[in-house]
Symmetry: C2
DNA sequence: GAGTGGTCTAGACCACTAT
DNA sequence: TAGTGGTCTAGACCACTCT
């Protein structure tokens, strides 16, 4: 493990365990350098990770302090959301993910998809339409477009489990980031039917463009979430 | 301006202007060091900002590349949302923000507020309840709790314009970050009335804890948004 | 093997805060 | 004025990709 990760993890654990409590001052960078037998840049980097994560703040001229966080807020940050797919996310909690496939076809990308995925006119994409269940309960209905040449050999069986797993494990591709947008609307008849809710009930809509570590787009997806199983968290800075 | 910010801005502009296009390879770090007459760490830092922002990706052993971004996606990222208050955000677009004050009182923090703001039992907070309008149209209804000792001298007139402005300009405090959570629900009768929508229409609910640059909590707010004027965007990594 | 980006160092100097 | 964190350097060595 990298040195700055070790320092980061160590200090983070001390905050979680209460060795450093809310608003408490951390040792100075100079002292941390000695304690961890390392240089200033490395300590700074470790601390900056904690700043980004929202656990500490730094004040030039004064020192470094744990934020005025409640226990619950620390917990919330701790199990913070890095990018993980639907299947991975829910399976980690020991729940069972199943999918109903409503459509699986290859079509020419329409203008919206072309634009979002930055494709040439006439490009072909998989068009995937699924309802996704956790422990038998419908959670989201999802429409996804994926450029066929970037996901060769995609089959129906992959949709029934996890497309991301296929992309990662079998194709050996790495997903690097996703650009996400959350809005809110009334469920139409179709959405209500699939999600087991009433028409006009509120739903959350997330639009997502996913990128590989090569920088190429791999997916444009629009996901409709049942209101009772949706939450989105993030930390805004500066 | 700091050197790494200059490099960051320069490269960012080149991407926005199309000097570097989607999927194009950037010069190597070594060459950028020469071009900007600086050291590797500084160039790396500038590039890492662009990575965080979602504009480029780096591949060890290969090089650095512009992401496969559409023009619209570049625009979207460009006018990206740092932390800005309601008034500042909407006024920047030349629109007029007004507020209707439904409640302004000092009360003992209830358990929820105590917990979120990490306050001692019995602490007093301002309890503020406002409807906020942009160009006369109701956009959000907002309930905010602020510890009185951290916002001394808050008056009704500040609520009618911008509390953040008072905090920043008159108290000289600096807001550093906010922890946000987005959920979705049906509007109740009260919310519908204030927002000018129908009961049971969908609304977005954001819960926010705001921190000063001292690390202290300054605000716990719950905001109900009209669906037609709400969107939340973010980039998820790793 | 040559070349990329990633980590880390030891230290200089700067901007800011406290006293 | 002393001490904090912030920026920046010049260079070493490592992990990885490509050919």
């Amino acid at each position: 493990m990298k040195k700055y990760e070790e320092i980061y993890t160590d200090i983070k654990n001390k905050i979680i365990n209460g060795d450093y409590t809310a608003t408490e001052q951390l040792p100075f960078e100079k002292d941390l350098c000695e304690a961890y037998n390392t240089s200033k840049m490395t300590v700074k980097r470790a601390l900056d990770l904690l700043v980004d994560e929202g656990l500490i703040i730094k004040r030039r001229g004064s020192g470094t302090f744990v934020k005025d966080l409640s226990r619950k807020e620390i917990e919330r940050i701790t199990r913070s959301n890095h990018l993980s797919g639907f299947t991975a996310y829910h399976s980690n909690s020991g729940r069972k993910v199943t999918n109903k496939i409503l459509a699986f076809e290859v079509i020419q990308a329409d203008e919206l998809v072309q634009d979002k995925l930055n494709l040439k006119p006439g490009s072909f994409v998989y068009n995937i339409h699924r309802v996704r269940y956790v422990d038998g309960k419908p959670i989201v209905v999802e429409k996804t477009a994926m450029p066929i040449e970037r996901v060769p050999g995609l089959e129906r069986k992959h949709l029934e489990t996890s497309i991301y797993e296929y992309i990662k494990e079998e194709l050996g591709l790495k997903i690097q980031s996703a650009h996400r947008r959350v809005t809110v609307k009334k469920a139409d008849q179709d959405e209500a039917l699939h999600l087991g809710i009433e028409e006009n009930d509120p739903i959350a809509v997330t639009e997502q463009i996913t990128y590989l570590d090569t920088g190429d787009t791999i997916e444009f997806g629009v996901t409709k979430h049942r209101a009772d199983s949706f939450a989105s968290e993030n930390i805004v800075s500066s």
